[in-house]
């Protein structure tokens, strides 16, 4: 079955249903490729820049899809669901933002040992320059860490083609395969030419001795994974997605480029008087033979890669490249942090900046993101700030979501934002260390994602802290996806975890309730034990979408 259930492959070809080129986001190119690769099940948790993969999969009505797709409560759950579908012999995909893979790291690492039934593709979308993230970690290290295969596309067609191939690769080598995206590809649009769809796999269950990672099985499976490394290297070295163009004169400059950085190199290459030798890297493990061929031929090597200097560090090693100059992010020829640009590559290639219009010195007022007009979080922060007045030594630990913007003026209401669910654990640790009052602020979806376990921990200790759950009944920052822990369900979860009934308070953050809300918050701040205050009011931006 394909994305067009009920039609045979021959019929699809006849009707040219898949042959139409489409303008797609990089994320959407991956999603379309997965469908046409015979996807049976896909899972994700919303996170920029990966959200649009699942958004695309969810676009057709559920009964017309021909595959299962849904948001999961968090990335670890999403990964395990995809792994279960793979165990059943079916092709599965799990997609997430880079830091989501930290959450899913446990099943991810171990799935390299279990191997796969049906092809399992894990899409990690990195966010260099942290456009909408708390760090810019590079997921290629995770693929190395797990010793699996990784594709890194440079453009939309490659995103499509590599995703198609990733499923085959996963089944061929019995490992999960990573697609590594970065923001500028995930969120850029271009034309994609799709290929004929492939049917879904038949149901076929995995073998217990492969999938039960008792030490006796795990040791055997790990040895098999290690033995497979030479095959992975060989496949990478033979992949047509990697290619080398040597300057026949030899000497001079050689450029090794991957991902988006490859595009910036190509953008500038025609400006060079002497054409450098060029190696495009698209797969990992790093195709070492191609790297050696390039380095042997040239005097200077520039490594251009988006994210961390993974390739450059391998070339540098401990001894460097004796007799040759190695340039990249480590050497300072490219910036050590942040995403690359056509301009940073111009500089690294010794080209002058374009002679454009010179606007002179501009002193521009910045325009940071902010809470929407009428946002319920604004009313909660105003009431919380008021209630905390006259309580020196208080601290508000916050979390990942729109409400993180409460850190900015005019609210200046929160002092931390670390990772999904950290607010509650950190508020407990802060309280244990003596902070009074110790306050946590977390959204409903983030609470569902990673807030239950730290709250259970605080219940057992009856920690002196006040937890705010801001229930706007949606995942607002990423575009209004459904929340797993909202409304009456959220209340039941909090009660079920054992928070004392009299210290579960529900407020409606509205200007007209301001004095009453300050009073309730004050009472719970005074309570020398655990309190949970649920501030419930639908998101002003996405509530209409949810009702519609």
């Amino acid at each position: 079955m394909s994305g067009y259930p009920g039609l045979s492959q021959a019929e699809l070809i006849k009707r040219e249903l898949f042959l139409k080129p489409e303008v797609l986001l990089g994320d959407e190119a991956v999603a379309l490729a997965a469908i046409q690769a015979g996807l049976t099940a896909a899972y994700s948790y919303p996170g920029t820049p990966a959200s649009e993969i699942m958004e695309y999969l969810l676009r057709p009505p559920a009964d017309k899809r021909g595959y299962f797709a849904s948001w999961s409560v968090n990335e670890k759950t999403a990964y395990e669901e995809a792994l279960g579908a793979s165990f059943a012999g079916k092709r599965a995909m799990v997609s997430m933002k880079h830091v989501g893979l930290n959450v899913a790291a446990d099943p991810f690492m171990n799935s390299a040992l279990t191997g796969v039934g049906g092809g399992l593709v894990v899409v990690a979308a990195d966010d260099p320059s942290m456009h909408s993230s708390q760090n810019e970690q590079d997921s290629r290290y995770y693929s190395e860490f797990a010793r699996i295969f990784c594709f890194e596309p440079s453009n939309h067609q490659e995103a499509y083609d590599m995703t198609r191939q990733a499923f085959d690769c996963s089944e061929r080598f019995d490992i999960p395969v990573m697609i590594r995206l970065t923001t500028r590809l995930s969120h850029s649009r271009s034309v994609v030419q799709p290929q004929p769809p492939r049917p879904q796999n038949d149901l076929r269950l995995g073998q217990g001795q492969d999938w039960t990672l008792l030490p006796v099985n795990a040791r055997r499976r790990f040895r098999m994974l290690l033995e497979r490394q030479k095959d992975l290297l060989q496949a990478s070295q033979a992949s047509p997605f990697n290619w080398l163009e040597l300057n026949p004169q030899g000497g001079g400059l050689g450029v090794i480029a991957s991902g988006l950085a490859f595009n910036y190199v190509q953008e500038n290459i025609r400006g060079l008087t002497e054409k450098p030798s060029l190696l495009k890297i698209s797969t990992y493990p790093l195709p070492e033979d191609l790297v050696r061929k390039l380095v042997d031929q040239v005097d200077r090597v520039l490594v251009a890669e988006e994210g961390y200097p993974l390739i450059e560090a391998k070339l540098r090693g401990v001894y460097g490249l004796p007799g040759k100059t190695l340039m990249g992010r480590l050497s300072g020829h490219l910036p050590a942090q942040g995403e690359l640009t056509p301009d940073s590559l111009r500089a690294a290639l010794d080209l002058k900046p374009l002679a454009g219009f010179d606007p002179g010195q501009l002193d521009l007022a910045g325009r940071p993101p902010q809470l929407c007009a009428g946002c319920p979080h604004a009313d909660t922060f105003k009431a919380l700030n008021k209630a905390l007045e006259g309580r020196p030594g208080s601290n508000v630990f916050s979390d990942i979501g729109c409400y993180t913007l409460g850190a900015l003026p005019p609210y200046n209401a929160v002092q931390t934002c670390v990772c999904m669910g950290a607010s509650i654990g950190m508020a407990k640790g802060g309280s244990d260390a003596g902070i009074r009052p110790s306050v946590a602020v977390i959204g409903d979806s983030t609470f569902g994602h990673s807030g239950l376990t730290p709250l259970l921990s605080a219940v057992q200790a009856n920690t002196d802290m006040t937890v705010f759950i801001l229930d706007n009944s949606t995942v607002a920052m990423t575009g209004g996806q459904d929340s797993f822990a909202s409304g009456p369900a959220l209340l039941r979860i909090v009660e079920g975890l054992g928070v004392p009934h009299e210290h579960i308070r529900v407020i409606e953050p509205l200007p007209r309730n301001h004095p009453e809300n300050i009073r309730i918050i004050g009472e719970e701040l005074d309570h020398r034990g655990l309190s949970v205050i649920i501030a419930a009011r639908p998101c002003v931006t996405y509530s209409s979408k949810r009702r519609g």
Binding site: S132, E267, L362, L364, C402
Partner: protein
Amino acid sequence: MPDRNGRKQDIILAGVGGQGILSIAAVIDNAALEEGLCLKQAEVHGMAQRGGAVQSHLRLSRETIWSDLIPRGGADMILSVEPLEAVRYLEYLSSAGIVVTSSTPHLNIPNYPELAVVLDTVRRAPRSVVVDSEKLAREAGSSRAQNMVMLGAAAPFLILKEDNLRRYIEALFKPRGEALVAMNLKAFDLGRRAASS
């Protein structure tokens, strides 16, 4: 004027999260595809869409486009739904580039500079077209149509056929009813007329 023969145009779309610059991009993308051009269009999603500065790099060409981002000094056009946001990307403008911007400030920050200074800076660009998008959008039926007013104002300077732009405005708003299609087309026409006069 853009190079209609060479058929290459690099455009920075700018505005504030929520002003609908991605709708402008969607119309241009589809018109370009219709005309057989290559295109790449980098967008901003996520946090900045909450009322922050947003921009999109839109590149059209007859030949292969490599970079998703436009180099500084390489933009043929800055098309902005907000004047301060037009100024924010001036360093991207080429030495012969044009700025097409709304004169209507979006005042959601406490330190917004004096509007006259902002507009003077816009007019220092090699070429500029400043349009009162709010007034024209209201005339068309809703201040939310400012994005289509600005697309209309840019139309005479784009390498795309106006018919194709109109066609994809229709396609974009059709799912939400004929009234919205008519209103946005009117906004487009008012913007184009204002830019041509």
